[in-house]
């Protein structure tokens, strides 16, 4: 049974996938969907609760929350995608080098990974973002710098087991170079856990970006990032709760959707795991 067929049977995964596609559509079409400009002020209309004109109300500067959420989708999804791409590339490269070369190189890379893993992710990201100064780019750099370690570990482990397989010896006997064995023959065999991890991490990274932005290290006002919006809405939490409810809900929905899809993918890509769990 193909992976797609298996995924189709998994209702939660399908819900996740549908939400993600829907949000991706919104992100791409943001300028056409958003009823108002995301950063245009309307000081006459401050802190108005959700009504017909402003579906999610307006914030303390009279900006339309619904439009800001839509643009925020764009920012969160694209940033998380870029970060996941970077950490995947970095992690796969480091993990493959460590696993395939072994010895000192392996030791050096894996000790670095151990050190990075010893810190709580978000705190290390906080430090890096703090040093580099608050901006979206710096948050992305900070997250990429620490997030690759998980990928490196997974890839290294799988590479270690795959490189002992007989077919690797067979292609070496054919005259393949080490580099081409690693890239053409070993890598395709170890990618499936990474796909699962990347899907799950999309959610985590969106959450981390929002968290860092909430703390003031990420997107700076007036950029409509969800975490920044939460931060800006905080002083008005009691009088205008919609300023925090909607960005918070969006973050939750996105993270949940990616988790559903990631779990579904894991079951689909690793049937053995499922059997074990059924028993």
């Amino acid at each position: 049974m193909s992976i797609v067929q298996q995924l189709k049977k998994d209702k939660l995964a399908m819900i996740g996938a549908i939400i993600i596609f829907f949000l991706a559509g919104i992100a791409i079409l943001a300028p056409y969907i958003a009823p108002y400009d995301a950063i245009e002020l309307d000081l006459k209309n401050r802190l108005s609760p959700p009504d017909r004109n402003h579906l999610m109300g307006t914030d303390n500067l009279g900006r339309d929350v619904f439009s800001r959420i839509i643009y925020g989708t764009r920012i969160s999804l694209s940033m998380a995608t870029v970060v996941v791409m970077i950490v995947m590339l970095l992690g796969i490269a480091m993990g493959t080098i460590a696993g395939y070369c072994g010895g000192t190189i392996d030791g050096a890379i894996m000790r670095m990974v151990d050190v990075l893993l010893a810190f709580p992710n978000i705190i290390l990201a906080l430090v890096i973002a703090g040093i580099l100064g608050p901006s979206l780019t710096n948050v992305m750099i900070a997250l990429s710098a620490i997030w690759w370690v998980g990928y490196a570990r997974i890839i290294r482990g799988s590479v270690l087991s795959v490189k002992e397989k007989e077919f690797v010896e067979a292609v070496r006997a054919m005259g393949c170079s080490d580099a081409s064995i690693a890239v053409r023959h070993v890598l395709p065999n170890v990618l499936s856990p990474v796909i699962v991890l990347a899907t799950l991490d999309m959610g985590h990274i969106i959450l981390s970006i929002a968290a860092l932005s909430f703390l003031g290290l990420g997107a700076q006002p007036p950029i409509p990032e969800w975490g920044t919006m939460l931060n800006e809405g905080r002083p008005f939490m009691e009088t205008a709760p919609h300023l925090m409810i909607f960005p918070g809900l969006m973050i939750m929905v996105v993270v949940l959707a990616f988790n559903f899809l990631g779990d579904g993918l894991r079951d689909a890509l690793d049937p053995r795991m499922k059997e074990v769990m059924m028993k």
Binding site: F167, A173, M174, H185, P188
Partner: protein, 313 residues
């Protein structure tokens, strides 16, 4: 003409338990167009010998001696030069067709690799060659089959595909390490038939590593019998079956179903703790005092028939 000459080859690896002497002073020659069978029981160093020719042993293995391929010592080549030998001059067919193919690449991609590597063909031309090769090893409708993955092939087809991959660049020598292992008897016969046909028609030499005397009898011109790390008897195939000299060879042949199914006493020794003197003396019915301390040399007992035993001194 001699294609490959192995001189005093030793391959040792150190493990936690001691030094494993897998190959211990082997001398062998393979002529052009010759098929040499290397037989012996499991764990006697046959596979290590095969792998050491292509220098595929892990880096902690100590390999000494000379492996002269067309006069050039393979043990002195650097990695780059060695890669040009592998697959192009000397190809290897591995023992387990079920695990010797990459599960995530299509059969076509895998077989086209030697063409791209050694002949510098473009993917498209390489695929044409692959289809030709698969036709040669009689895989039905090859142009569709190349798009399939190894798990969609049966065991026999996979081994035939491996043979196609081995023969792809028209190597002068093929090292076939138990090519029929894990296949059932009818498929074995097909594979043997095919290998015989292909090596004859392409004039390829072959070193056939096996413990299956039936396969060896079918394919080989000469046979070398290996007993822990050493060649104990060398003869042409008819002579060996008719007139085995070494007590081990005699025991080996007597253990065949057609010849009485007599089991040999004892176990083959561990490669870490090899006995002194003749390696076979603890199991040998003719062992004398001398066998326990001195290592016998190869002596010629007939035309093209050598044996390592004091009985024929």
């Amino acid at each position: 003409m001699t294609l490959l000459r192995i001189q005093d080859l030793k391959a040792y690896f150190s493990t936690g338990d001691g030094i494993v002497k897998a190959v211990n002073g082997v001398n062998l020659e393979i002529d052009e167009n010759e098929t040499l069978g290397l037989i012996g029981e499991t764990g006697c160093g046959k596979t290590v010998l095969g792998l050491s020719i292509l220098r595929l042993l892990s880096e902690n293995t100590k390999v000494e001696g000379k492996i002269l391929y067309r006069g050039e010592d393979l043990l002195k080549l650097n990695e780059e030069e060695m890669r040009k030998i592998r697959g192009k001059e000397i190809a290897m067919i591995f023992q387990n067709p079920l695990t010797s193919m990459n599960p995530v690449l299509t059969v076509g991609t895998q077989i086209s690799e030697p063409f791209e590597l050694h002949k510098g063909l473009k993917k498209k031309d390489a695929i044409k060659k692959v289809i030709e090769m698969l036709k040669l090893v009689r895989i039905p409708s090859p142009s569709e089959r190349i798009k399939e993955y190894p798990h969609e092939f049966s065991g026999g087809m996979r081994q035939r595909a491996m043979i196609a991959m081995g023969l792809a660049c028209e190597p002068s020598l093929i090292i076939a390490d138990e090519p029929t292992k894990g296949l059932d008897v009818t498929i074995q016969a097909q594979v043997v038939e095919l290998m015989k046909e292909l090596t004859t028609s392409t004039k390829t030499s072959m070193l056939l590593i096996t413990h299956d005397l039936g396969v060896a009898a079918e394919l080989c011109d000469n046979i070398a019998v290996m007993y822990p790390g050493e060649i104990v008897e060398y003869a042409d195939i008819k002579e060996l079956f008719k007139n085995p000299k070494h007590p081990y060879t005699q025991g080996f042949l007597d253990s065949l179903p057609g010849r009485g199914l007599k089991p040999m006493d004892g176990m083959s020794p561990s490669l870490i703790n090899l006995p002194e003197g003749c390696k076979f003396h603890p199991r040998c019915p003719f062992a004398r005092e001398r066998c326990k301390s001195m290592r016998p040399e190869m002596v010629e007992v007939g035309k093209n028939h050598f044996v390592r035993c004091f009985l024929y001194d």
